[in-house]
Amino acid sequence: MTSGPFAFLRTTSFRLALIYALLFAVFSAGLMGYLFQATVGSLRTEAKSQLEAELRALAVAYNTGGKERLEPAQRERALVRVRNFTYQFETGAGRKIVGDMAEMPVTPPADPGDVDAVTFEIEGRRPTGEVSIIPIEGRIVRLSNQSVLLVGIEMSDRLAVVGKINQAIIIAAPIGMILALIGGFFTSRYAARRAEALSETSVAVMAGDLSQRVPVIGSNDEFDRLASTVNAMLTKIETLMSATRHAGDAIAHDLRSPLSRLRNRLEESLRGPMDEMTARDTLGETVEEVDQVLATFNAILNLSRVRSTGEEHLQKLNVSELCADVADLFEPACEEAGLSFEAHIKPDLYAKADQALLAQALSNLVDNAIKYTPRGGAIALNVETADKDITITVSDTGPGIPESDRERVKGRFVRLDDARTQAGSGLGLALVEAVANLHGGQLELDESALGASGLKASLSL
């Protein structure tokens, strides 16, 4: 069993979290390296091409107009400080002609036409007012008349971006690692706890408490799905167990009393005077009573069989046709009983169902309706769909079942007082409910739509 404060270290999900954290670190290091290269590299390339373009433009200005053309062009540019360029122009002897600086900060190349790439620093004033050292990247060229031209571009803004990226990488990488580890820790602790809950429930169920369920916390993840599945399984097991126990109880309680009655009757007639007429009567009654006992017995068996039947038995069939057949079977009997019968069946509704059981359940409902509805009344059979559910409703105009008794009559052998005179095993509605449950639906009893006191029994599949 996993327990103790460091149990999570031994869980699969913690190990996975650790592996993920390492992978994350390697991956982010790679990504950031690439990012760094890409940004810094492209900044430098861009600066270089700008510099060279500027230098070319100035050289062209000088070549076509000499110093007189170059000077105004440069002066104009220096005035507006186009794109942070810095200029310095001096004679071959090293005298400043025009420029942003007091003197040439770097040594010019010796021969005319040579261009040198240089870096230097100048003191500059930021827009905020503070004075700072600004790194400059520049090109210096000696022109044909030996004069020297320097063009520089400020790198400070660009380098600041690079610095920020560097800083972000340095801060983010450890934070990412720590977050990954913390995530792994919580994930693994969560998984360990959920597994533990499952294991605890199983132990309790094995110990005999079938009502225990694995907590479903609504996270809707695989643990919740597993918990739901296990719970559904436990519910099924509980149902089967209780069905078995109920069948046993039913046989014990409900067959013992009619059998005792039967025995008493035979005993009594053995003691009394025995002429052929009374003997025949007694035997006739006895056979009837035995038949009743057998019918009850069959109903009990049938009921427990239905309760333990699995859904895998169900086959796709035309429920509308099945209902129409039952309607067809009972329609004349309704008429005979002085009841009007109407069937409204939506055609061609298919569902996975057990043909025999569904027909029997529906027959039980119609049977009940015929038995309890007084002459002159009405019975209706409706088959409809709502969403994907098929609802089969049998309504009548009989006395109905008081609301307080509706749950009770679904149980075994529950017969309301005024029904005791009617033949029946008292298992009819219990069977209907079991069949409905088998089909993933339920039996609902309600007031009839046909009359204030009638009964409406709906089977949802």
Binding site: L294, N298, R305, D325, D328, L329, F330, P332, A333, E335, E336, A337, A356, A359, Q360, S363, V366, D367, I370, K371, A423, G424
Partner: protein, 224 residues
């Protein structure tokens, strides 16, 4: 009819023998599966009544082997296993009918007699059924009695067809529910009686001779 009853419970087999003998049939009994199979292969019988749980050879196997070796005698399974699935198993093994224990004597008689009938009538393909002056054409689905044409609902037609195919013999309500509606349960309301009386109103009401008789305590019989 000559009937072979294969049943290991002597009391039960004695009861079956009495019931069938009482209805005018000759009954031979066998007490286990092997003896029963030998007897069935050896003697000429009109019907076999086979218990499902037999010593030495279970009923299902017995019927299967009997069919595999070319035996055509119709067979009826008797069984305490009365589930629809059990019934299907029985019929797949080669039996012609299936009756759950316990059963009413009339039910057994009616079913055994229906079996004997089946063997005789399964040779030529029938397209017309005739009972007295009542005629049914299975192809055109016309029903006439004498010169009168009778209009029947589809279900009434099936019901009458079943009765005519079993003309002269008693047909129980359960047999009708199974044969016409394919239901293997017993509705508590007497649904069959009402269907019969509707049918009777159509085929008998206007005529002097009543063809469809009620057999008290058993069922119905259509006879000329």
């Amino acid at each position: 009819m000559r009937v072979l009853v294969i049943e290991d419970d002597l009391e039960q087999s004695g009861f079956i023998k009495n019931v069938l003998t009482g209805a005018g049939h000759d009954v031979v009994t066998a007490e286990n599966g092997e003896a029963g199979l030998e007897e069935a292969r050896g003697g000429y019988f009109d019907a076999l009544v086979v218990d499902r749980m037999l010593p030495r050879k279970p009923g299902l196997k017995l019927v299967q082997e009997f069919r595999d070796s070319g035996g055509t005698t119709p067979a009826l399974f008797l069984s305490a296993l009365s589930d629809v699935d059990n019934r299907v198993e029985g019929l797949q093994a080669g039996a012609d009918d299936y009756l759950a224990k316990p059963f009413a004597p009339e039910e057994l008689i009616a079913r055994v007699e229906a079996l004997g009938r089946r063997q005789v009538s399964n040779e030529p393909p029938v397209t017309k059924l005739k009972v007295g002056d009542l005629e049914m054409d299975l192809l055109s689905r016309n029903v006439t009695r004498g010169d009168t044409k009778i209009d029947l609902q589809p279900r009434e037609f099936k019901l009458l067809e079943y009765l005519m195919r079993h003309a002269g013999q008693t047909v129980t309500r359960t047999m009708l529910l199974e044969g016409v509606w394919n239901y293997h349960f017993d509705p508590q309301t007497n649904v069959i009686d009402v269907h019969i009386s509707r049918l009777r109103a159509k085929i008998d009401k206007e005529f002097d001779k009543q063809l469809l008789q009620t057999v008290r305590g058993a069922g119905y019989c259509l006879t000329a």
